[in-house]
Amino acid sequence: MGKEMRIVLRNADKIDPNSIDDYIKAGGYRALEKARGMERKALIEEVKKANLRGRGGAGFNAGMKWSFVPPAEVTYVVCNLDEGEPGTYKDRTIVQKDPHTLLEGMAICAHAINSKKGFIYCRGEYPYVVEHLNRAIDQARKKGVLGDFDIEVRMGGGAYVCGEETALIESIEGHRGEPRFKPPFPGVAGLWNRPTVVNNVETFANLPEIINRGYEWFASIGAPSYPGTKVLTLSGDVVNRVAIEVPTNTTIREVIYDFGGGIRDGKKFKAVQIGGTSGGFIPESLLDTPIDFDSMRDIGATLGTGAVFVMDETRDIVDIVTRIAKFFEHESCGKCNPCREGTFRNFKIMTKINRGMAAAQDIENMTLLCKVMQKACLCGLGQAAPGPIVTTLQHFRHEYERKLLA
């Protein structure tokens, strides 16, 4: 089995996640202290140069994101723990095993943008994680490690779209989780119209070690354009269905065979979908691609959240994509026309194909619809929803054609 490199999960299974003392003994909250001794600009510069790119899926340079925040009296730090991508359980794993690394990361960001208040938006499916976090926050408050920065946990209500940062903000504000148009970006006008930084759990959790060890250390790990590690969660027909943390230049093949232990029951590999349910399907021929953001984009796939969903030779691609199309139909917020109607129509057409009732024209219609959705939808959900259809039509078209009416 290959070797992991643990930055985010450095304390996992080594300390008691319910004990702040354990975390402090392991060197915790030292980075925050160091950060607080730094000029804000220098701190932002440090994170920018580390080239820590968003781990939630968009891959935007975190330091850059922070640098857009104008000087303001009230600013907010928001942590995205809405982990809704099927096959993803990394943020839950990070928080359950080491909640303080998240809190410390958020506090470092708070110092950089001069914020007194943070929110963790935790998905409604994780009430036990909310409890766990509240315990940790309570301990941190009592220890006084967060200083004048306070963190509140808010629980989502079961809406995948709230993983989109502006929908998440709307939800914290108590509204329907419908994405806003951008600009303005949250960095300028976010939560209650105040400058707001929204980052993923894993992004924040990287910060303590970046501050402790310096940007050069971090920037030298893994792929140069997307340095560091990535927490991946394995699911589907793979032997080891676990969360792992590996350098970003690790290849997909290494992930599945070295860390995942290969395909279950001695079967052969057919496809892997990476990055969550909106990710592209990847065939055998592309398995030697490194998992980093840009390499994945170059093959028409995504790193996304780092979910690795493996399918063996017996799996019916069209059936799985039909199920995925249903997911998007269910999770579209309904605000913009191409997503609301498009996800619905994709599901209808996929169902028709899956039942053997479709003609070649249906595939053509769906292809055109997907092409428009990718460029016309208001937010990332609608833009990404066609991904599985488009990539499976590219790599597994024969499976579709096999099901068409003669």
Partner: protein
């Protein structure tokens, strides 16, 4: 039973706290009663139409009565290939209801769910948000017994 006014009132100073209030209401009633939607609108200074819009947007929130045990069966892709369909059928058979329905005794409600973030062992069901992983159709009676 706690009064819904008190439940909502506890969140009145939280800006945007209506969703938190709805969660608290569901903990007590398993759904959000009509009067509570109106009261929440008043407390949080939004229209009843908007409060209703919020309550109906989120899949975890319900504005119709549900059973004491809400069984949600994940049918996202990783659970789907692991046989979620068979697990759904087993629950439907054992409870004598279809997905989306509540048993006549008001005890169980069956719902579809999308990913609940426990994909390391699929299929997954949650009962009142507590996850049960790697469930097979054969496990269903034992899982239900835990609620009885």
């Amino acid at each position: 039973m706690a009064n819904f006014r008190d439940i909502i009132g506890a969140f009145k100073d939280k800006p945007g706290g209506i969703i938190e209030a709805y969660h608290a209401l569901q903990k007590e009633y398993n759904y959000i009663p009509k009067g509570a939607v109106a009261e929440a609108a008043r407390v949080f200074g939004i229209s009843e139409a908007q409060a209703y819009g919020v309550a109906t947007f989120y899949s975890y929130l319900a504005t119709e009565p549900r059973g004491k045990y809400i069984i949600r069966i994940c049918e996202s892709a990783p659970c789907h290939i692991a046989g979620a369909d068979q697990v759904i059928k087993a629950f439907e058979r054992h409870l004598g209801i279809k997905i989306g329905e509540t048993t006549p005794d008001g005890k169980f409600t069956l719902e579809f769910a999308e990913c609940v973030g426990q994909c390391q062992e699929t299929p997954v069901v949650t009962i009142n948000s507590v996850p049960y992983v790697g469930i097979t159709p054969e496990d269903v009676p034992a899982v239900l017994d835990k609620c009885r």
